[in-house]
Assembly symmetry: C2
Homo-oligomer: 382 residues x 2
Amino acid sequence: MNEDLEDVDIKRIAELLHTNEQRITGLFKRRTLHRTPAGHLILDRSVSQIEGGTAIFPWEKYEVVWGFPKIHRAMMLQPALLSHFTTERVAVEEKMNGYNTRVATINNRIVALTRGGHICPYTTEKAESLLPEKIFTDHPEWVLCGEMVGPDNPYVPKETYGIESLQFFLFDIREKKTGKPLTIRERRENAEKYGMQTTKLFGIYPLGVACKKIKEIIQMLGTSGREGVVIKDPEMQDPPLKYTSSQSNCNDLKYAFTYYHDYARSFFYSRVMREAFQSVEWKEGPAEIEARSAQLGENILKPMIQSIKKVQSGERLVENVKIRVKSIQTAEKFKKHLRTLGIDATFNKPVKIKDEYLIEIQKINQRTTDKTESILHGHTHS
Amino acid sequence: MNEDLEDVDIKRIAELLHTNEQRITGLFKRRTLHRTPAGHLILDRSVSQIEGGTAIFPWEKYEVVWGFPKIHRAMMLQPALLSHFTTERVAVEEKMNGYNTRVATINNRIVALTRGGHICPYTTEKAESLLPEKIFTDHPEWVLCGEMVGPDNPYVPKETYGIESLQFFLFDIREKKTGKPLTIRERRENAEKYGMQTTKLFGIYPLGVACKKIKEIIQMLGTSGREGVVIKDPEMQDPPLKYTSSQSNCNDLKYAFTYYHDYARSFFYSRVMREAFQSVEWKEGPAEIEARSAQLGENILKPMIQSIKKVQSGERLVENVKIRVKSIQTAEKFKKHLRTLGIDATFNKPVKIKDEYLIEIQKINQRTTDKTESILHGHTHS
């Protein structure tokens, strides 16, 4: 018998996930549902009706925070819009480049979850100061879904948005235990009422003109290095769709090829496909295709060359990120959290800035460093 | 019990492969060693001392044709040469762009094997007319390893070499039953004696200057669209190494991205790595890196765009290849052979040219066609 099972109430979990006990026992056995070091349970991947990243807190009354659903991507925008949406109008909101978090209260304490359902101690500390407590006491049944954006970001640090440290942008309010979303209007009204930042709404457009509008928005966003849009049914009945700028695709590639042996394989193919379909949909001529090809090639080759040269000169390949915390304890917990996620990192000494500590972190991309070194020493490929 | 085992002499096979009966039975059970539709046995992949592609002919006295060893690739040339070779001088020969075949006589009949060990009926017919029978009667213990090159090539058609139809270029003579190679000199002398074409020898260079020479050769080959070199110990004691031109890497990408959903994933990553290491090794400046990036980007994006447009206009994605045969029967057998290899193809009506039949073949890249169609119809990506 799995030790995870020993002190949990299978019947209660089955109830919360709207399924039967046998199924829950099966999920435990296959370790699809498992206990985290923090003590709560997470579902590793989606299983029929239950979203991956769903977290169960087996404390007192047992609570669940439903996983955030994967948003499908439009590859060819116009046909995707027409075949995906059943509504007449779509809301176009900004998709920001940070990391996804779900914030809720469990036993009257705020917890911020990663996409996978882990409690991130850093995000939790940030959520405590960035989010109004009142929304949680007024609506304990809600989970606030948002993007954590800015430079003091240990996952996806970005200077793009002019944010000083780290900011939370609300993009969804959902019911904790079902994942059911509020409408766009309800969410935006509540954001205003409680004084929360929310992702930019470009407009609500009739389906017939949305494609043209989105193209304009995407091109505008791209020129300032921003990621793209999420296209939503204003009533949130149809699931949303995402669509990104070419610059965002290229930035992903640049990142992936810097740490080519860690990330490039899984990143590459989908990004290139997006470029090709966007070019065809936008009916680009030879000069535009030429420019897009050059961009693509550069964002693949240059970061790789730079990484090889770094290793050649004796450096290790690391990603420099930073966090800014009120409590040193949060940093300690965050260190453990990264280890749980399988991320190898070294933490610099904290530097006190006003009432906070700035801590620089080096995330180590060992596989790419090792691979590069071995080739530089004459290793051949089979 | 596996039916492949029923009428074969396990003991004899174990003897031929220098191993024990138990191991052979195990290989059969795991289907690593299996019977082809032609009736002989092939080893799917290398297992410790036995090369993948090794073929056993369980007829009369039982014969074996040892698999052709995988040639490792230098990623960073200079350190690879120094760490790989134990000799003082290396021979640099051309690596031609066609397909690898091993030709031998089994029961006094010529058979031409693919890399994987299948008998290719087309290559066999070609080998019968292109190779001198006398070498097989003088040396029944030899297998002639060579590249089949030219436009009438159903696997890798190339106009590059100014060959009218299809030509065999000898690159190795090996002992059938062990795979042990003749020295470079022995091979070239025999090629001359029997009047066979052999791959070009650029020279035999001291290890200290080989890297510089190879760079010059690679650049020269690249400008005429040729593939690269194989670097060999003249005595053939150390295994050879291969190294290719940037143009060849880019051509591979162009091909792979034309049929992106069939090939791109597996092709891409290694090609891009080759480009990055070559650029670093050749100490390229910004302008050269720019040019290389542009080349790379173009060879990825343009073929994809072209394929998407083709499917958009209602075409199927096919590779047009052709064969030229003396006997219509060979074409029939070749059709079956392609089916065995899992290749979907349609054959046009044979056109008689002199004493031969030219047959155009469309190899169908169904996966890419289907994927493209579905996206054009609005399918989104999860």
